[in-house]
């Protein structure tokens, strides 16, 4: 292998395509699991806010499981374990339809939902009780209070934590490589083993990850500033 040569990798049409596909897969996994996580987190939050003790305990158990078991183990449990319990027809269908990516999205989404729901819950708890009492006194229904008074404030309070966890979800998408999803880390490992340009290959991927993470962080900071302005606090 010659000296440092970034162009050799970037201009090679094969490697360029692999990188693009890897980046695309990373985005598919990150976006898919983010959407799943956020939907589920709001659902978990609503269940937790209901007066039932049993529902509260169930959600607490869900959160505790997902916080205390490593993400990689959850991915493996889904991809190797739970997939083997599914009916055979479904297993074949899934293996025809990129089972690795599907299970990666499911596992990462379920895991991150636990973190997101905790962020939202602490966001709601930091809104003073007087706010919801005042809203109810003004004639809002329970859902109206939630929609117009509590949720906007809760989201604003939870924003920094949500952004942090979104960045870590994006970073965790690299774990999908371990179950064989052809995302960015996987593509780079392939390129490295084909071209022997270790340094250049990893440099490209590291910079790509870093730019995306910093972008998410700065969008989060901008959102935070906007929320602070409109809220006046």
């Amino acid at each position: 292998m010659g000296g440092f040569d970034l162009v050799a990798i970037l201009t090679n049409p094969n490697f360029g395509l692999m990188l693009l596909h890897g980046l695309e897969m990373t985005f598919v996994i990150a976006t898919g699991s983010w959407l799943l996580a956020m939907t589920l987190a709001i659902l978990l939050l609503i269940i937790r806010l209901s007066p039932s003790r049993l529902a509260d305990r169930a959600v607490a158990a869900y959160v505790s499981y997902h916080r205390n078991v490593p993400t990689l183990v959850q991915l493996m449990l889904w991809y190797f374990g739970i997939s083997s319990l599914l009916p055979e027809g479904l297993q074949y269908w899934l293996s025809d339809h990129n089972a690795e990516a599907t299970f990666a999205i499911v596992a990462l989404g379920l895991c991150q939902a636990a973190y997101f729901s905790e962020d939202l819950r602490s966001g709601i708890r930091s809104v003073p009780a007087g706010q919801s009492e005042a809203a109810r006194a003004l004639g809002h229904s329970f859902f109206g209070t939630m929609r117009y008074v509590l949720m906007p404030q809760a989201f604003r309070n939870a924003l920094p934590a949500l952004i942090n966890h979104s960045v870590s979800l994006f970073k965790n998408s690299s774990l999908a490589m371990a179950i064989g999803v052809a995302e960015l880390t996987h593509a780079v490992k392939e390129i490295e083993s084909q071209s022997f340009r270790t340094f250049e290959a990893y440099l490209i991927a590291t910079i790509a990850y870093l730019i995306c993470s910093l972008l998410i962080m700065s969008v989060g900071a901008a959102l935070g500033r906007k929320a602070a302005l409109s809220g006046g606090r």
Partner: protein
């Protein structure tokens, strides 16, 4: 299924917990715990230096330390592990064991995250403490070491413990570069009994859950105890939840 799980545990407990096998001197949970303890123990001093560098005004200290923290926050740990795994042999011209690769990467990564905890801890100690220590004739480093850090450390303990929990969870990535730890051991068992993947990975999840839950719980208890202790003394601001409630009716 319960019977399968029990029999797998009974047949492989040595491998899962402390067992030996060809790929390494230790196996399973023991290797995972040793790796985590070593990483945090080595990362902590480094994180204090990083935090002090992040608090200094000198650009030569500020820029590299900030860059390290942002790289750790923005790049997946897996990517950093692969960097060390492939680049160190190229630079040194010699292979290093996976365990050492993992340790080096974890120390740098955890130091970056811990340095944020340490920085917050130092900033939370009142500004007056530093002024008073300097007035008593301590140097900057002396004041840090004898006055600020002991107070900061006490408040940081719960955060350090939860960082330890995330280190335990991160050691699973060693599996990708064949570090013989708990996840690796479970995969060996899975390869041996290919017919029971669910049971094997379920056991793996349970072991991690038990260990991490115990430590998370300990961190929560410690945090509550420290908050209560601080509420009992007159120094330092009270945590919001600990402030005395007024019993007068609101107008």
């Amino acid at each position: 299924m319960l019977w399968d799980i029990l029999s797998i545990i009974q047949d492989n407990w040595l491998l899962l917990l402390i067992g030996q096998y060809p790929n390494g001197p230790l196996g399973g949970l023991a290797a995972t715990l040793i790796l985590s303890v070593l990483s945090i123990a080595l990362a902590f001093p480094l994180s204090v230096l990083l935090a002090l560098a992040r608090l200094s005004r000198s650009p030569f200290l500020l820029w590299p330390s900030t860059a390290l923290v942002y790289i750790a926050r923005g790049v997946p740990l897996l990517m950093l592990i692969l960097w060390v795994y492939f680049m160190v042999p190229l630079l040194l011209g010699a292979n290093i064991p996976g365990f050492v690769t993992m340790l080096v990467t974890l120390v740098l990564y955890e130091a970056a995250f811990l340095s944020e905890v340490v920085r917050a801890g130092i900033v939370a100690v009142g500004r007056g403490q530093m002024d008073a220590a300097r007035a008593l004739g301590h140097s900057y480093l002396g004041a840090m070491w004898y006055v600020i850090l002991p107070q900061a450390l006490y408040n940081m303990l719960p955060s350090i413990l939860s960082q330890f929990v995330s280190t335990i969870k991160e050691t699973t990535l060693g599996y990708v570069i064949n570090v013989p730890e708990l996840t690796f051991a479970a995969n060996q068992i899975n390869n041996r009994l290919l017919s029971k993947p669910f049971e094997v990975f379920f056991i793996l999840a349970i072991i991690y859950y038990l260990v991490c839950w115990t430590l998370t719980h300990a961190a929560t208890v410690l945090e509550r105890r420290i908050a209560r202790k601080r509420a009992g003394t007159t120094t330092g601001p009270l945590p919001v939840t600990m402030q005395p409630q007024t019993l007068t009716a609101e107008p």
